[in-house]
């Protein structure tokens, strides 16, 4: 496993808003993780040399393929990491779809970044028995 080999936690951040992308990547770095940012779902799927992700933080409203659609495409693309959704527009329908997809978290963009960090830690930190 990438994490066990390098001891690094790789987190994909997909958001078309570059300021959010950059600020969230900083937060992840400050928390000791390794963020990799993409401006669209297509950019992530087209990246040939991405590491093995431990977690994906996906914006729901994206140009082209949506975050929810991207999550469905992860398994076919050979990515098995859990997804956390972030949205600027919190509408009930999107939230329902996100939870139905079995996501690891659902947050608004205005929510505190530490909450998102905690959600990431919950999914990437392996249970003590396995360490």
């Amino acid at each position: 496993m990438a994490t066990s080999n390098s001891g690094r936690t790789y987190v994909a951040v997909v958001d078309d808003n570059e300021n959010l992308c950059r600020s969230f990547a900083r937060l992840l770095r400050a928390a000791g993780m390794h963020p990799i940012t993409y401006a669209s779902a297509e950019a992530l799927l087209a990246d040939p040399q991405h590491p093995r992700f431990d977690c994906l933080v996906l914006d729901i409203q994206l140009p082209g393929m949506s975050g929810l659609e991207l999550q469905k495409q992860l398994a076919p693309a050979g990515i098995a990491a859990p997804a956390i959704f972030i949205t600027a527009h919190d509408d009930p329908q999107a939230r329902e779809q996100a939870y139905a997809s079995g996501c690891a978290g659902y947050f608004r963009k205005s929510d505190s970044g530490s909450e998102v960090l905690e959600a990431i830690r919950r999914v990437v930190v392996p249970p003590p028995a396995l360490q």
């Binding site: 600020s23 040399q49 991405h50």
Partner: protein
């Protein structure tokens, strides 16, 4: 039994009857002057029949002489009214001839009113009893004729000329029937009565005066003329009724009700369609107050005002109002009308139409309600759009500021804080704060510029953020791997 005492009153009665008929028609409708003059003429003939009868039954020369001036007065009224009647009825003839005939006659007959004198006889020597067929007897005078009486007959002659001249003029102008019938009979009467009177008074013949009998020709002629008028009036009435029926049918088919308001008498004539639109039965009389009472109370003032304006100015009467039907239902009516004026410009009557516009009004009302609902829906959806746009536009810079601040806190906890990173964070926070401020400023500008309209607005992205720049920024990230 003396048949003379029956025959003369019969002629008098016939004349009276004709006079009364013309009087009653003349009082009611034009041509008034002609009919009233003619009835005066006929009444005078009835009088002359009485005078003739009295002369025939006179019991002494003095008695006979006393009656003669009455005959003069009545004869003059006959001549004067006949001249005036022809003048008015034919609307033609020479004015001076019309005045000269009765004038000359009057001058001559003045003589009767001098002391102890008569225009007919210088002296009446006696009365003679004459027996005629049927054993009837009557009196005639014997005496010396007055030569000045020729002036009376000159007057009658002038009248004759006037009548013939007026008849010829009327004939040429196209009034042939009237010229022939009335002009002819009047001419005949004057000729017969005048000539016969002259023969009696000059002593050539000894018969009763037959002025009233000669007048029977005029009686018949005027009866014929009157009949023709009545027949024409009946025919005209039938045509008018037929026309009215046709108009009623056509207007009814078009849904139009017609009405005419006689302003002075305050009566409203209305077609059956109009009455049914207002729920007023055919049998009920219509007036302005009755019409007003059929209207919805809120619309009465407006209608009254529209009528007043139309009467006071040249503007058409054009209003829409509600009628409250007897069953309580409301009907919308559109009314148009125009005042008609007399020669002095005073409104005499108002004519117009009414149309049921309830259906149009209903759909207008429905449309208005739908528009109201649409506007409401539009407002609601616009507010929703605005709120979500605001959330979207503001949550991104605010979220970025929050994450940057949190990242800074974590960096500061490192043993050796990365100062370059902290500077970059602060610069980004400043830029995002500026961006959020811009969003609010744009929104304020948009709301100030125009009232809220139900229109989908594209959510604008801050300018100067090219896709290339973004890709570069994000594309750098995989390098951390």
């Amino acid at each position: 039994m003396n048949w003379i005492t029956v025959a003369w009153p019969m002629v008098a009665a016939a004349s009276l009857t004709l006079g009364l008929i013309n009087l009653s028609i003349g009082v009611a409708q034009p041509p008034r002057a002609a009919r009233l003059l003619f009835s005066l003429n006929a009444f005078s003939v009835a009088c002359i029949a009485g005078v003739e009868l009295a002369l025939m039954r006179a019991d002494s020369p003095a008695h006979f002489a006393a009656i003669l001036p009455w005959g003069s007065v009545v004869s003059w009224v006959i001549i004067a009214s006949l001249a005036a009647f022809i003048w008015v009825f034919f609307d033609s003839g020479n004015k001076w001839l019309a005045l000269a005939g009765p004038g000359l006659f009057a001058v001559a007959r003045m003589y009767d009113f001098g002391p102890g004198s008569s225009i007919h006889y210088l002296k009446i020597t006696g009365l003679r009893t004459v027996e005629t067929f049927g054993g009837a007897t009557y009196k005639v005078a014997e005496g010396v004729p007055n030569p000045w009486n020729a002036i009376s007959y000159l007057g009658v002659l002038v009248l004759l000329v006037f009548v013939v001249d007026a008849s010829v003029r009327l004939w040429r102008r196209g009034g042939r029937r009237r010229a022939a019938v009335v002009g002819g009979s009047v001419t005949f009467t004057i000729l017969a009565a005048g000539a016969h009177g002259a023969l009696i008074e000059s002593g050539i013949v000894q018969t009763p005066y037959l002025i009233s009998w000669a007048y029977l020709a005029i009686l018949v002629a005027m009866g014929y003329e009157l009949n023709a008028d009545v027949i024409a009036a009946v025919e005209l009435g039938r045509q008018v009724q037929e026309g009215e029926r046709r108009m009623d049918l056509a207007s009814g088919a078009a849904g139009l009700g017609m009405w005419t308001w006689d302003i002075a008498r305050d009566t409203i004539w209305a077609t059956s369609k109009t009455r049914s639109l207002f729920g007023i039965p055919e049998s009920e009389g219509l007036s302005l107050p009755r019409f007003m009472s059929a209207l919805h109370s809120d619309d009465r003032d407006a209608v009254r005002q529209a009528i007043e304006i139309s009467l006071a100015t040249d503007r058409d009467y054009d209003v829409e109002y509600r009628v409250r039907l007897p069953d309580g239902q409301i009907r919308w009516i559109a009314a148009r009308g125009r005042a008609e004026r007399d020669s002095a410009g005073n409104p005499v009557l108002m004519r117009g139409v009414v149309l049921d516009i309830s259906a149009r009004r209903r759909s207008e009302l429905e449309l208005q309600q739908l528009q109201g609902q649409l506007a409401h829906v539009g407002r609601v959806s616009m507010m929703g759009q605005l709120a979500s746009a605001l959330a979207h536009e503001l949550s991104q810079p605010l979220g970025a500021i929050l994450r940057n601040a949190e990242a800074a806190e974590l960096f500061l906890q490192h043993e050796v804080p990365d100062l370059d990173e902290l500077r970059a964070i602060l610069a980004d926070i400043r830029a995002d704060n500026q961006r959020a401020g811009d969003v609010i400023e744009r929104l304020r500008g948009m709301l100030k510029r125009r009232s809220i309209e139900p229109r989908a607005l594209a959510v604008g992205r801050p300018a100067g953020r090219g896709r290339g720049a973004h890709a570069r920024e994000c594309g750098r990230a995989p390098g951390h791997a």
